[in-house]
């Protein structure tokens, strides 16, 4: 039975996070698990993002047939907001969630990070690759996890990095190309999603319960709302940002 709850407004500070390695192993009963879905709406005039000036590195410029615009704010044609990270902030029983064996990927292609926003589970590997013919430096500007900055020349071996503590969210930057920025959310659990081209999200396999769900946008900040997910049910939540 769908349950619609509107999000409460207001930003909140960085949630407290700590490693869950010492907690009991988490288990979800597939027979009762449900789904959290929703959309992130945008009200008002959509801001026009500036074209990135890649003239300082013509090899970057040549990889784009049309001028590339900053991805800070992308409002979809259906007035929804892209690249919003959604996760269960509160309500899950304390447990250690196993990290997926499959690494997440962060590519540097056309002197742009792809994807712009993504989430991983703590302990999951992040595979970083350089598909460009130019040098990059990858700077993980994490606060709770040790920050690092490493070079990655063209055709260099992929990097595999793990983050041991939950941290939502922190940027990756490249000082060779100062416009490059990506955001990573490292979560204790696998219940997160990022809005795409239609502004919707869907988090599956969630145990029934009452949860605080948080939306985070790199420019517009944090919003949260509460919902109750019934066994095998679908709970829907909408967030609204505006200019």
């Amino acid at each position: 039975m769908p349950l619609l709850l509107l999000a409460a407004c207001g930003s909140s500070p960085q949630p407290s996070t700590q490693s869950t390695a010492s907690l009991p192993e988490a288990h979800v009963d597939p027979a009762t698990a449900g789904t959290i879905s929703g959309r992130v709406l945008f009200e008002g005039q959509a801001p026009v993002m500036p074209v990135i000036d890649m003239a300082s590195n013509p090899q970057c410029e040549r990889q784009h047939k049309v001028p590339f615009r900053a991805e800070t704010v992308i409002v979809n044609s259906n007035k929804t907001l892209r690249n919003v990270y959604i996760h269960i902030k509160d309500g899950l029983a304390p447990a250690h969630w196993a990290a997926p064996a499959q690494p997440a990927r962060l590519d540097q292609n056309g002197c742009v990070y792809a994807p712009h926003v993504q989430g991983i589970v703590e302990g999951q590997a992040l595979e970083i690759l350089n598909s460009d013919p130019v040098n990059h430096n990858v700077h993980a500007e994490s606060q709770k996890n040790p920050a690092w900055n490493e070079s990655q020349p063209p055709r260099a071996e992929h990097k595999f990095k793990k983050f041991g503590s939950a941290e939502i969210m922190f940027p990756f930057t490249c000082s060779v190309h100062p416009w490059m920025k990506a955001w990573l959310g490292v979560s204790e659990h696998p219940f997160f999603a990022v809005t795409g081209e239609d502004g919707s999200f869907r988090i599956e396999g969630v145990p029934p319960g009452t949860y605080t769900v948080e939306a985070i946008h790199e420019k517009f900040g944090r919003k949260e709302g509460k919902l109750t997910l019934s066994p095998t049910g679908t709970a829907t939540i909408e967030f609204t940002y505006g200019s």
């Binding site: 993002m49 500036p50 990135i52 000036d53 300082s56 590195n57 090899q59 970057c60 900053a70 800070t72 130019v134 040098n135 430096n137 700077h139 920050a147 690092w148 900055n149 490493e150 070079s151 020349p153 490249c174 000082s175 060779v176 190309h177 100062p178 416009w179 920025k181």
Partner: protein, 297 residues
């Protein structure tokens, strides 16, 4: 005793070249920060494991800064050796050693800030020491000049308007102001501290210059040094306002904007000139102004 000191044109020209290259280094260092290129080369002392990486994007600024720094370091070694071989003034030889120690420390701070991912305190020390090192090279250029060795046009200091102490306070305040600016630039503190410091520093410099212009106007060298310092200081204030305004205007920019970079880098460079000219004025005050009771000595 002064007659024994010989003017060495080569040494003076070399000292001038060192000061000029150091100013260029300060400018490029300002570009590194303003262009957000400080971490574009993650390793140190090599760059991407090489002596010469591809000069693309931010690497152009960061590695270019390292190359000029290496050149300035070598020039400073030559300067120190030259001073020790030919200079009869022991204090000047010691100043040469101080300059060398400063440039070595500066290089280490530069490497450290890269390896430690730009901690504000290392970056601030690196930026402030850069200004002090530049002033040291300017001082060496002054002390090796024929002008310094020539008989000074002395004026007796007036008891009612002493400027010796004030001329020392000015460079100390400028150093503090530069350190605040560096700390603000590296996000250790808000810009407000640097902004609030500027009228104090400008006020002291203006007061010092006015005193010199009014009470010691017959001493041409003093007057010109004071005018130069005042002109540079007010240029610096204009550049500071411009840099701040462009930062506000481009607060949401996704990459460093050329106008903001230009004003900020000029502000850094003219900051170095402000310190150097305030130190130069303090030196000239001590040279051209005789203590009361010693004027006829």
């Amino acid at each position: 005793m002064a007659a024994k000191i010989i003017y060495r044109r080569g040494l003076h020209l070399w000292s001038m070249l060192l000061a000029l290259c150091t100013l260029m280094l300060v400018v490029v260092g300002g570009l590194v920060t303003s262009r957000d290129a400080g971490l574009s080369v993650p390793d140190w002392p090599l760059s991407y494991g090489k002596l010469m990486p591809p000069m693309e994007g931010g690497i152009l600024y960061e590695h270019g800064h390292r190359m000029i720094a290496t050149m300035v370091g070598m020039f400073t070694i030559v300067s120190m050796v030259w001073l020790w071989r030919v200079e009869s003034r022991k204090w000047l030889r010691i100043l040469g050693v101080i300059a060398l120690l400063a440039v070595i420390t500066q290089g280490l701070l530069g490497g450290l800030t890269v390896l430690m991912l730009l901690p504000w305190w290392v970056s601030t020390m690196h930026a402030t020491l850069a200004q002090l090192f530049f002033s040291t090279t300017v001082a060496i250029a002054i002390f090796t000049s024929s002008w310094w060795l020539a008989e000074p046009t002395t004026t007796a200091e007036q008891t009612a308007t002493p400027i010796r102490r004030l001329s020392l306070i000015a460079p100390i305040l400028v150093v503090c102001q530069l350190a605040l600016g560096a700390a603000a630039r590296h996000k250790a503190i808000g810009s407000i501290y640097h902004i609030c410091g500027s009228p104090i520093v400008a006020g002291v410099i203006l007061w010092l210059s006015l005193r010199i212009s009014v009470h010691y106007s017959e001493n041409r060298e003093l007057r010109r040094a004071a005018l130069t310092l005042t002109t540079i200081t007010f240029t610096q204030i204009f550049l500071g306002i411009a840099a701040y305004m462009t930062r506000i205007a481009y607060a949401d920019a996704v990459q460093p904007m050329p106008l903001m970079v230009t004003f900020t880098v000029f502000h850094v460079a003219v900051g170095a000139l402000t310190l150097a000219s305030s130190i130069a004025l303090a030196i000239i005050v001590r040279r051209n102004l005789t203590l009361v009771g010693a004027a006829s000595a």
